[in-house]
């Protein structure tokens, strides 16, 4: 019952082959995961453990770093800021993006879609610099408005591109049937298309949230003390104090954890999302 085209070398020892492949894959994966391990370990280390050479692997864990981050450094406020900005960006991205995606998918407005792609290719600073100058003149820096507006530059393309795919996957006949039954185009969009694309809305919304949450360059320029987001806050650890690596590791862990959890939910779409936007160099 051996399959006709089993590789000759693998005959009889597929178990060994699989084992070796597994080990090889583990060896490849370790360097990619090690920084996460080091971050998590560091977040429980005391400052003195960081100075040790060779580096310590076993140590008495402390929660002092996390206390420092929330009590001495007000990360609670920054977490709220990051959440508000990411949530508002995602909400407006979906609000503008879904009808836009529907139009591209159903009425072939492809020129519009190409424009969005151009936005993905353009350097982020080309958008940031004019916005910065305008916001300074309008005295709007250090507002949620400035952050949400500029974050939309990269989240709107993600949502549009992903939603186009999801809407195109719905057979037109379903909407047409609804319209024959007296439903308007808008009714078809809200009552037929939206419920059917809920998984897509969730996926593109979560990706948009992640990319807004992760954004540093736009936020470091436009956020002030009152609207400082987490990536900006963690960056300032490098500047102000003599580098306190323990709190820095703890802060990095706190920022990264929600992203990783969200990313696991939408893992199927991450590459697509990064291809459509999200990187703001």
């Amino acid at each position: 019952m051996v399959k006709a085209v089993e590789p000759r070398t693998a005959q009889g020892n597929t178990g060994l082959r699989k084992g070796l492949l597994f080990l090889l894959a583990m060896m490849v994966l370790i360097p990619f995961l090690f920084p996460f391990l080091w971050m998590l370990m560091g977040s429980f280390k005391e400052e003195i453990d960081f100075m040790a050479y060779p580096p310590v692997w076993v140590f008495k864990p402390t929660l002092e770093n996390y206390r420092n981050v929330f009590v001495d450094n007000d990360f609670g406020t920054y977490t709220v800021n990051s959440t508000v900005v990411a949530a508002l960006t995602t909400f407006f991205g979906l609000l503008f993006g879904i009808p836009g995606a529907y139009a591209v998918a159903r009425y072939r407005r492809t020129g519009f879609a190409l424009l969005i792609l151009a936005a993905r290719m353009a350097p982020g600073i080309a958008f940031l610099l004019p916005w910065f100058v305008l916001f300074v003149q309008m005295k709007l820096t250090n507002t949620y408005f400035a952050l949400v507006t500029t974050h939309l530059i990269f989240t709107l393309p993600i949502i549009l591109w992903m939603m186009i795919g999801f809407i195109e996957a719905i057979p037109r006949e379903i909407e047409q049937a609804a319209m024959v039954d007296g439903c308007t185009v808008w009714g078809a969009l809200f009552k037929v298309v939206l419920p059917l694309t809920l998984p897509g809305i969730a996926a593109s919304g979560i990706l948009s949230f992640i990319f807004s949450w992760n954004n540093f360059l736009f936020s470091v320029v436009l956020a002030g003390e009152a609207t400082k987001t987490l990536p900006v806050a963690v960056f300032s650890f490098l500047g102000y104090q003599a580098i306190s690596w323990g709190p820095l590791s703890a802060a990095a862990s706190i920022i990264t954890l929600p992203v990783i959890i969200l990313a696991l939910i939408v893992q199927k779409y991450i590459v697509q999302g990064l291809a459509a936007g999200g990187i703001t160099g």
């Binding site: 085209v5 000759r8 699989k18 084992g19 090889l24 894959a25 490849v28 994966l29 990619f32 920084p35 080091w38 971050m39 100075m51 050479y53 060779p54 580096p55 503008f96 993006g97 009808p99 836009g100 529907y102 139009a103 159903r106 519009f112 936005a119 290719m121 350097p123 982020g124 600073i125 080309a126 958008f127 610099l129 004019p130 910065f132 100058v133 305008l134 939309l152 530059i153 308007t184 992640i210 992760n214 540093f216 360059l217 320029v221 987490l230 990536p231 963690v234 960056f235 650890f237 690596w245 820095l248 990095a252 920022i255 990264t256 990783i260 696991l264 991450i270 590459v271 703001t280 160099g281």
Partner: protein
């Protein structure tokens, strides 16, 4: 009674118009937002690039036509940044594309826990880049960093990763490789898993070994996908900035300053927004040119 009927029919007419014009109305909000968010600032960027404009100090902008671009042409710091960006692109592509493809080929095989491992491979590219860049700063510390410790096992002496002008660019390429090779791998993996099985089965019957199958079958067939990965990596390396800004701010000196970092510092750190805009325009042109060439290349191979 008549009034309600009247308003009803007006409302109906409005609804009917909305319905008939839906193909125009639906993209309208996102079109207005896109125009405001993206097209308008690009126009304003061009306007700014023609001015001598310092945002601090109260001096107003002065129209200088193309002077900023002329100055840019003979700006040694910009030239240096341009060269360094070229090194970033070349080093990054040479390492990340083959490595990503190799990882994709490996993860396309069948072995236990493959799905979980593929998922874990996603983590470097979704984790908050600033946070991870700072963890890399800790790991690359010349005195107590864990990377130097690992290298000491092999007799390598302590390397000053981020403060040695000769090492800083390769060190930053390494961090970029850590973050974005998974992206290359996962794009290639999608291409590999879509390949038909028949040619491979035929080749195996004909006695082709794994090496021959890779070079004669896998690589040509996955090439269009690989070009997509090259396109994205090329453009993102051309714009590389974030982890450089966080880890070295372009230093020591200007040793790791790429065009985008220079652009950022000039416009948003020194507030020379006119000159900074001119740099942005040049980067935009470079990215556009690169995109067009690479998209052409992709079409030719198809």
């Amino acid at each position: 009674m008549a009034g309600t009927l009247e308003s009803n029919s007006l409302w109906d007419r409005f609804l009917g118009a909305c319905d008939r014009k839906a193909s125009l109305l639906m993209p309208l909000p996102s079109m207005i937002v896109t125009a405001l968010l993206m097209i308008f600032p690009l126009g304003y960027l061009l306007y700014m690039s023609l001015h001598d404009w310092l945002l601090i100090g109260g001096k107003s902008a002065e129209f200088v036509s193309l002077n900023n671009f002329v100055a840019l042409w003979s700006d040694g710091r910009f030239r240096g940044a341009l060269n360094r960006t070229g090194i970033f692109i070349v080093l990054g592509l040479i390492i990340q594309i083959p490595l990503g493809l190799a990882i994709a080929v490996l993860f396309n095989e069948h072995f236990p826990a493959r799905g979980l491992m593929r998922t874990l491979l996603l983590l470097p590219m979704v984790a908050t880049p600033v946070a991870m860049a700072l963890i890399w700063v800790i790991m690359l510390d010349p005195n107590s960093g864990v990377l130097n410790y690992f290298l000491s096992w092999f007799g390598v002496e302590s390397i000053a990763w981020l403060s040695d002008v000769d090492v800083v660019v390769p060190a930053l390429v390494m961090v970029d490789t850590w973050q974005w090779t998974p992206m290359v791998a996962l794009i290639c993996l999608a291409g590999l898993s879509a390949l038909p099985l028949e040619p491979f089965e035929a080749a195996m019957i004909d006695g082709a070994n794994a090496w021959q199958r890779f070079w004669r079958l896998t690589l040509p067939m996955v090439w269009p996908t690989l070009l997509v990965a090259i396109l994205f990596r090329f453009i993102d390396l051309l714009k590389v900035i974030e982890h450089i800004y966080v880890m070295t701010r372009g230093g020591p000196g200007f040793a790791s300053e790429t065009i985008n970092v220079y652009n950022f510092l000039m416009g948003l750190f020194y507030y020379r927004v006119g000159y900074g805009s001119a740099i942005s325009v040049v980067i935009f042109a470079l990215v556009l040119g690169a995109s067009i060439i690479l998209i052409r290349a992709r079409r030719v191979t198809w």
